[in-house]
C-alpha cells in the first residue's frame, strides 16, 4: 500500500521515455527562450532570408528604392561560370585560409613550446616574453595594418632599408604591390596580429599537461621526438583542432586585412570573397550579384560550422563517457 502510494507520488515516465514537463515549467522555458529566439529571427534569420531573396534579383545600388527584378538563378550561374570568381575562391581558400591558418598554427605551437620551456624560465625571460606576446594582440587591426604598410613601404620602409643596408637586396621591393611578395606580406601581417591568441591557447593546454607523464615517458626511454609525438601532441590535439576551426572561421570571413593592406590588388591578385562582395556591391553597385556571392560564402562557412559542431559534440560525448 505504502509502495503503491509512493509510486503514485512520482510521475510515471512517459511511454516515449521523455519526462512530461508541468505547464508552469513549459511557460518559464518559453518565456526565457522567447527573447533570444526573437533576436535571432530579427538579426539572423530575417537578414539571411532577405539576402537569399536579393540574390535572386538584379538589385542595384542605384535602384534600392525600386527593388530588383526577379532573375532566378542567373547570378549564381554567372558566379559559377566566372573565371574571376574561381580565382577569388582559390585566393580565399588556399592563400588566405589554408596557408594563413597553417602558418599561424605551426608558429603558435613553436612559440608556445618556446615560452613554456625551462630555458626561458631559467633566464627569467618567461614573464617579459608573455607580456610582449600580448602587444600584437592588443593592437587594433587598423593600426597594425598602417604600421606594417609603413614598414614595408618601398620608399621609406624600415624593412627595405634594413635589407639594403645588410646587402641582401640592392633595390627596394614593393612588397604589397609585387606578385611574388604580396601574399607572403599579407599573411605576415595577419599572423603578427593574430598569433598571440593561438599561442596563448596552446600554452594554456601545455601547462595543463601533468609533468609526471613526461617524466614517465623519459624513464621509459622515450626520445625527445617520441615525447613530442606520443605525449605532447595527443594532449594538445583538442586545442589544435579547435584553434584550426576557429582560425578558419575568422580568416575565411576576413575583409579588413586584405582591403586595408592591398585594396584587393595589385590588379585582382589578392581579391578574396569578402572583398569581392564589397567591390561588387558598393563599387560596381551590383547588390543582387554580391548577395549571391554572400550566399555561396555563407554556405561554405556553414559546412565548416557543421564540422566544428560535430567535433565539439564528439568531444563532449567522449568526456561524458569517460566521466
Amino acid at each position: 500500500m505504502a509502495s503503491h502510494s509512493t509510486a503514485s507520488a512520482v510521475p510515471a515516465p512517459a511511454v516515449s521515455g521523455r519526462r512530461k514537463r508541468p505547464p508552469s515549467e513549459r511557460g518559464f522555458l518559453f518565456t526565457a527562450l522567447a527573447p533570444p529566439f526573437f533576436l535571432l529571427i530579427c538579426f539572423y534569420v530575417y537578414p539571411t532570408v532577405f539576402n537569399v531573396e536579393n540574390s535572386l534579383t538584379d538589385l542595384s545600388l542605384f535602384g534600392l528604392r525600386d527593388g530588383g527584378e526577379w532573375i532566378g538563378l542567373e547570378n549564381y550561374v554567372e558566379l559559377m561560370t566566372s573565371p574571376d570568381f574561381r580565382r577569388v575562391v582559390w585566393n580565399t581558400v588556399v592563400w588566405l585560409t589554408v596557408v594563413g591558418v597553417s602558418v599561424r598554427i605551426v608558429l603558435g605551437l613553436a612559440l608556445a613550446f618556446l615560452l613554456n620551456s625551462a630555458t626561458l624560465k631559467r633566464w627569467r625571460l618567461s614573464t617579459i616574453s608573455r607580456i610582449l606576446l600580448i602587444v600584437p594582440w592588443a593592437t587594433p587591426p587598423v593600426v597594425a595594418i598602417i604600421v606594417w604598410r609603413w614598414l614595408l613601404d618601398p620608399r621609406v620602409g624600415a624593412v627595405n632599408a634594413a635589407l639594403i643596408s645588410l646587402g641582401i637586396i640592392d633595390q627596394p621591393i614593393a612588397f604589397l604591390a609585387t606578385a611574388g611578395w604580396v601574399w607572403p606580406a599579407v599573411i605576415t601581417i595577419i599572423t603578427w596580429n593574430t598569433l598571440p591568441l593561438v599561442t596563448l591557447t596552446f600554452m594554456a593546454s601545455l601547462q595543463s599537461l601533468p609533468h609526471e607523464l613526461i617524466e614517465a615517458a623519459e624513464i621509459d626511454g622515450a626520445s625527445k621526438w617520441q615525447v613530442m609525438r606520443y605525449v605532447y601532441i595527443p594532449h594538445l590535439k583538442p586545442a589544435i583542432v579547435i584553434m584550426v576551426l576557429m582560425s578558419t572561421f575568422w580568416t575565411f570571413n576576413n575583409f579588413i586585412y586584405i582591403w586595408l593592406t592591398t585594396g584587393a590588388g595589385p590588379g585582382t591578385y589578392t581579391n578574396v570573397m569578402a572583398t569581392e562582395i564589397y567591390i561588387k556591391a558598393f563599387i560596381e553597385g551590383r547588390l543582387g550579384y554580391s548577395s549571391a556571392a554572400g550566399v555561396v560564402m555563407a554556405t561554405i562557412m556553414t559546412i565548416f560550422g557543421l564540422i566544428y559542431l560535430r567535433v565539439i559534440a564528439e568531444r563532449e560525448l567522449k568526456e561524458e563517457g569517460e566521466a
Binding site: L176, A264, G267, G285
Partner: protein
C-alpha cells in the same frame, strides 16, 4: 464687468513668456546637415560659420565621408530616408542619383531663384547637362570644376637637357626615360596601384581619348556599345607599362593608388620626381607647400597640357555638384545653403580658395599663377565625360575594372592582350545587362 488681475498672475504670465521666448526661437532655428568630402574641412567650416552668421535661424552640421565611400554611403542613406540635407557630389553622379530617386528635383527653385544664382545666374553655370536626369529634371547645381594637367620640375628637365615639355605621348615617354638616365630621378612616376578609384583610370582615358574613341559611346541605333577594340585598349596598357618596364617609373609606384597621394606631393617637393599629372587643387597644394618650406625661393615648377594625339590633348571636365536629398525636412534652408555656397564671394574668395566655381564668368575671370598656365590651356581642350556619364554602365564599374586590368598587366599577372580582351568583354557584358 472688469476683471482684476492679481500680482501673482502677472508674475506667472511674465515668467511664462520668458520661458516661452527661447522655445519659440528654438522652433524657428533649424539644423541642417551638409556632407562635405574634400580635404579642406577647416576652410569649409569657416564658410559655414559665415553662413550661420548671415542666417541666424539656420545651423549647419558638417558631415565627413571619404570620397571612396561617399557614393554608396549616400545611396544607402537616401534609400532609407537618412541622407544629409545637402550633399557634395561628383560631377557624374546626379544623373544616376536622380534616376534612383535619391536627389530632390531643383527645377522649382531654379525657376524661382535661378536669375540670382551664382555670379551670372543659372545660365552661366558650367556642365549643366551633367546635372540633368534622364527625366530632364535638374537634380544638382554645379559647384566647382577642375581638370588634370601635367606638372613638371623645370630644374630636372634642364639637367636632362630637355628644353620644352613634350607634346606627344612617345616624346613624353622618351623625356621620362632621358630624365631617369641623366639625373637618376624618376621621370613621370604616375601612381600605378590598384584600388577602387585608381588614378590610372584617368591617365588611361587621356591616352585613349587623344588617340581615338573612348571606352563606350552611343551607336547610330541609340544603343550604347564598347567603342574601342581590344587592340586599342591594349595600346594604352602597353604604353603605361613601358614606363615601369623601362624603370623610369619605379615599381614602388605600384603601391600608390591616388593622384594626390603624399608620395606624389612629397616627391615633387623634394625634387625626387620630375613629373606628375594632377588636378589644379593638388598643383596649388604643391606650390603652397613649396612657398612655406622655401620662403623667397621661386618654385621650380611649371604646368603644361597632357600630350596630344590625333584628337588633340584630351582630359575631362571634373568637378563637384551640390544636391538636396529627397528626405530633407528643410529643403528651403538647404536651398539657401546651396545658393550661398555657389556664390563666388565669400565662399571661393575667402574660404574655398583652391577651387574654381563651375561658372563661366568665374572660370574666365580666374587669375592663374604663372606656374599654373598649363591648366587654363588644358581646360580649353578638355571634354565632358559624355557617354560615360549618360550611358548604362556606371562610371565606378569602369573605373574599378580598368584599374584592376591595368594593375594585372603592370605586375605581370596577365598579358596586356589578355587583360584588354577581358576588360572589353566585361564592359560589353555590363552594357548588355543594363540595356536589356
Amino acid at each position: 464687468m472688469t476683471e482684476k488681475i492679481s500680482r501673482r498672475q502677472v508674475v506667472a504670465g511674465a515668467a511664462g513668456l520668458a520661458l516661452a521666448a527661447p522655445a519659440v526661437h528654438a522652433q524657428q532655428q533649424v539644423t541642417i546637415t551638409f556632407r562635405f568630402n574634400d580635404p579642406e574641412a577647416p576652410q569649409m567650416r569657416g564658410a559655414l560659420d559665415e553662413f550661420e552668421r548671415r542666417n541666424p535661424d539656420i545651423k549647419v552640421t558638417m558631415q565627413r565621408v571619404s570620397w571612396g565611400d561617399a557614393q554608396q554611403q549616400y545611396l544607402r542613406e537616401a534609400a532609407v530616408g537618412s541622407a544629409p540635407d545637402v550633399a557634395q557630389l561628383a560631377f557624374v553622379w546626379p544623373r544616376a542619383f536622380g534616376g534612383a530617386r535619391s536627389l530632390r528635383p531643383l527645377d522649382d527653385y531654379i525657376q524661382r531663384d535661378g536669375a540670382r544664382l551664382g555670379a551670372g545666374g543659372w545660365d552661366g553655370f558650367f556642365a549643366r547637362d551633367l546635372a540633368v536626369g534622364a527625366d530632364n529634371k535638374v537634380y544638382a547645381i554645379p559647384w566647382t570644376t577642375d581638370t588634370f594637367a601635367m606638372m613638371y620640375n623645370k630644374d630636372l628637365f634642364a639637367q636632362a637637357g630637355i628644353t620644352s615639355f613634350p607634346t606627344d605621348w612617345e616624346a613624353l615617354r622618351a623625356a621620362s626615360q632621358t630624365i631617369q638616365q641623366r639625373t637618376g630621378k624618376p621621370g613621370w612616376a604616375f601612381p600605378a596601384g590598384s584600388c577602387g578609384t585608381p588614378a590610372i583610370w584617368f591617365f588611361m582615358n587621356f591616352y585613349w581619348w587623344s588617340k581615338g574613341p573612348g571606352l563606350i559611346d552611343r551607336g547610330s541605333d541609340g544603343r550604347f556599345l564598347v567603342s574601342m577594340t581590344p587592340q586599342q585598349i591594349q595600346e594604352g596598357f602597353d604604353y603605361y607599362n613601358r614606363y615601369l618596364q623601362e624603370g623610369h617609373n619605379p615599381r614602388a609606384s605600384l603601391s600608390i593608388c591616388l593622384w594626390g597621394a603624399p608620395e606624389v606631393v612629397e616627391g615633387m617637393l623634394s625634387g625626387n620626381i620630375a613629373m606628375c599629372s594632377n588636378p589644379d587643387t593638388v598643383a596649388i597644394e604643391i606650390l603652397d607647400k613649396w612657398a612655406q618650406r622655401n620662403p623667397g625661393r621661386p618654385a621650380p615648377f611649371a604646368t603644361a597640357p597632357h600630350p596630344a594625339g590625333p584628337n588633340g590633348s584630351r582630359t575631362f571636365f571634373g568637378g563637384r555638384m551640390l544636391g538636396i536629398s529627397p528626405n530633407s525636412r528643410f529643403p528651403e534652408q538647404a536651398w539657401k545653403l546651396i545658393q550661398y555656397l555657389v556664390t563666388p564671394d565669400p565662399t571661393f574668395a575667402r574660404f574655398y580658395t583652391n577651387y574654381t566655381p563651375a561658372q563661366q564668368a568665374a572660370i574666365t575671370a580666374r587669375a592663374w599663377a604663372p606656374e599654373m598656365s598649363g591648366y587654363p590651356a588644358q581646360l580649353r581642350t578638355a571634354r565632358s565625360w559624355g557617354p560615360y556619364g549618360t550611358g548604362p554602365v556606371a562610371i565606378p564599374f569602369m573605373w574599378n575594372a580598368v584599374g584592376r586590368a591595368a594593375g594585372s598587366v603592370f605586375i605581370g599577372e596577365k598579358t596586356a592582350a589578355q587583360a584588354s580582351q577581358e576588360l572589353h568583354d566585361a564592359i560589353s557584358r555590363e552594357l548588355a545587362r543594363n540595356q536589356r
